[in-house]
């Protein structure tokens, strides 16, 4: 029983990071039709932004406070970077999908190379509050405390995004734009502002995933963003392109599959996720076209 609890909560912690990456990726594709391979770079910028800030904030004596301040810097860096990518690189290529893919792949590769060039490819470590490395006992299972942080962060982002989409004017525009972007413009709405906002929100969530990945995996590396992005792509295909709730469910399903298969077999957790993707596509091929925010 304790193993099941441990695997489930650890799986949900991993799923939380997948969701943080996938939610922005899914909204960006749903609204703009942009397959954003640069999303992994937002994760990297967020993670390294927080790490770099932490090294410069040694004046803050309290470890929790320093980590919190560094995280805010990391999130701001990821958000600003995503906004700049949209304004400078994506906007001029509006509706030119092949060029957008090439540019976003280029941003992804260049960001990893730049980070490696400046700080090297060795893992970097956050100085975390001691509570993070402790455990909580649940039904006999010793659950690493950081899993609660990751799950709580993803739940907060899920609720925040759904509230934003449901109750704000821009949320309404985004939900409508995911269904039919041209018709939104035909109602007199400048949908490009919504594009920028969605990129900024996606960058914020991805940067948060970057920071949390440094806790979950105990370190950050330049390639972490790329490896998380691969699973996030699988999540958005399974969950339905453009669907936030679908991304949440699919994130949990993918991560739990990975955890359980990895535990009960040896090292084929990643392969099992690909099989899950294939099963979903065979059972529900329309999933690739699904669009509701």
């Amino acid at each position: 029983m304790s193993t099941v609890v441990l695997l489930t909560i650890t799986g949900l912690g991993l799923g939380a990071m997948y969701f943080l990456v996938a939610s922005g990726l899914s909204l960006i594709y749903g609204l703009m039709g942009v397959l954003n391979f640069a999303h992994g770079a937002f994760i990297t910028v967020g993670a390294y932004g927080a790490w770099f800030a932490e090294t410069k904030l040694s004046g803050i004596g309290s470890v929790p406070l320093r980590f919190l301040a560094a995280s805010v810097v990391g999130l701001a860096a990821g958000t600003c970077f995503a906004t700049l990518v949209e304004l400078v690189l994506i906007r001029p290529l509006y509706l030119r999908h092949i060029e957008q893919v090439l540019v976003t792949v280029g941003v992804s590769l260049a960001t990893v190379a730049l980070v490696e060039g400046i700080w090297g490819s060795d893992p970097k470590f956050y100085v975390l509050p001691p509570w993070f490395s402790g455990t909580t006992t649940v039904a006999g299972a010793y659950i690493p405390n950081d899993r609660w942080i990751e799950i709580a962060a993803a739940a907060a982002v899920l609720v925040g995004l759904l509230t934003f989409l449901r109750f704000t004017r821009y949320g309404l525009i985004i939900r409508a734009g995911v269904e039919n972007r041209a018709m939104v413009t035909a109602l007199g709405i400048d949908v490009k502002r919504a594009f920028t906002l969605v990129f900024a929100l996606g960058g914020l969530a991805a940067a948060l995933a970057g920071v949390l990945s440094g806790i979950y995996f105990t370190s950050i590396t330049p390639e972490r963003g790329t490896s998380l992005l691969i699973f996030a792509f699988i999540v958005i295909v399974i969950g339905g392109l453009g669907s936030i709730k679908g991304s949440a469910v699919a994130s949990a399903a993918v991560a739990l599959t990975q955890q359980y298969v990895n535990y009960y077999s040896t090292g084929i957790g990643d392969l099992s996720v690909v099989l899950l993707l294939a099963i979903v596509l065979l059972a529900r091929p329309a999933q690739l076209a699904g669009r509701t925010a």
Partner: protein, 236 residues
């Protein structure tokens, strides 16, 4: 001696290429201020593309002048904000949004005419919380028209509003358009000639991406002309 009033909409030498096909090949016509101008033609001659070209929803070349000002270099949302309402073919309501959200999306600051819309379509007020995707075809058409009417318009572009509707609803929609036309100018694409005869004051006929006839609705009483321009199979 007074000169003729300037048309509300002037379309000059409009070209549109879509998917390698030269769909519009130099379309030119005017829409006078007031009343309904019907844009007619067989299926696939470019009627919907003409409306989309005026609105900038497809890449186009040529001149489009609204009330004396060129709009052909402007983005779609700016053209709409100049007072151009659009009722698309197949309604294009946002299926996942409620009726109220569809209307709220279209409403512009301070100018939304909810009273007018609810007067014309009282059913939409009753169904405000219903998802638009669950409405019948006729009800979706009401939402599409209501969205366009919610803001004051100088020109309404209406694309096949009776398409796919039951005969009783066709008459109802025609009646609504008649009320609307009393206050606003409209360019109407419509296949149903009975509706066109009832509503339109002037007509423009397209064939293979070109204007082949400009006249009044009375021209539709000439059976030989209708047969030549619109073909035998055209709904009457």
């Amino acid at each position: 001696m007074s000169s003729a009033p300037r048309p509300l909409l002037e379309v000059r030498d409009l070209h549109v290429d879509l998917g390698g096909a030269h769909v519009l090949q130099g379309v030119s016509f005017d829409v006078p201020a007031g009343g309904i101008t019907a844009l007619l033609g067989r299926n696939g001659v470019g009627k919907t593309t003409t409306l989309r070209g005026v609105l900038g929803l497809v890449p186009r070349r040529g001149q489009v002048v609204l009330a004396g000002e060129r709009i052909d270099r402007e983005a779609t949302h700016r053209i709409v904000r100049r007072g151009v309402g659009y009722v698309p073919e197949d309604r294009d309501v946002f299926a996942g949004l409620t009726v109220a959200e569809n209307l709220r999306l279209a409403a512009r600051n301070g100018s939304a005419r909810y009273d007018l819309v609810h007067d014309l379509f009282p059913e939409l007020e009753e169904r405000a919380r219903q998802r638009a995707g669950t409405l019948s075809g006729g009800q979706q058409q009401m939402v599409a028209i209501a969205r366009a009417l919610l803001n004051p318009n100088r020109l309404l572009l209406i694309d096949e509003p009776t398409k796919g509707l039951a005969p009783a609803l066709v008459s109802e929609v025609a009646g609504l358009l008649e009320r609307i036309a009393a206050a606003e100018t409209a360019l109407l694409v419509e296949q149903n000639l009975a509706v066109v005869r009832r509503l339109a004051s002037s007509i423009v006929v397209l064939d293979q991406g070109r204007v082949v006839h400009v006249g009044t609705a009375a021209d539709l009483d000439d059976e030989a002309l209708v047969h030549r321009l619109l073909g035998v199979g055209h709904a009457a």
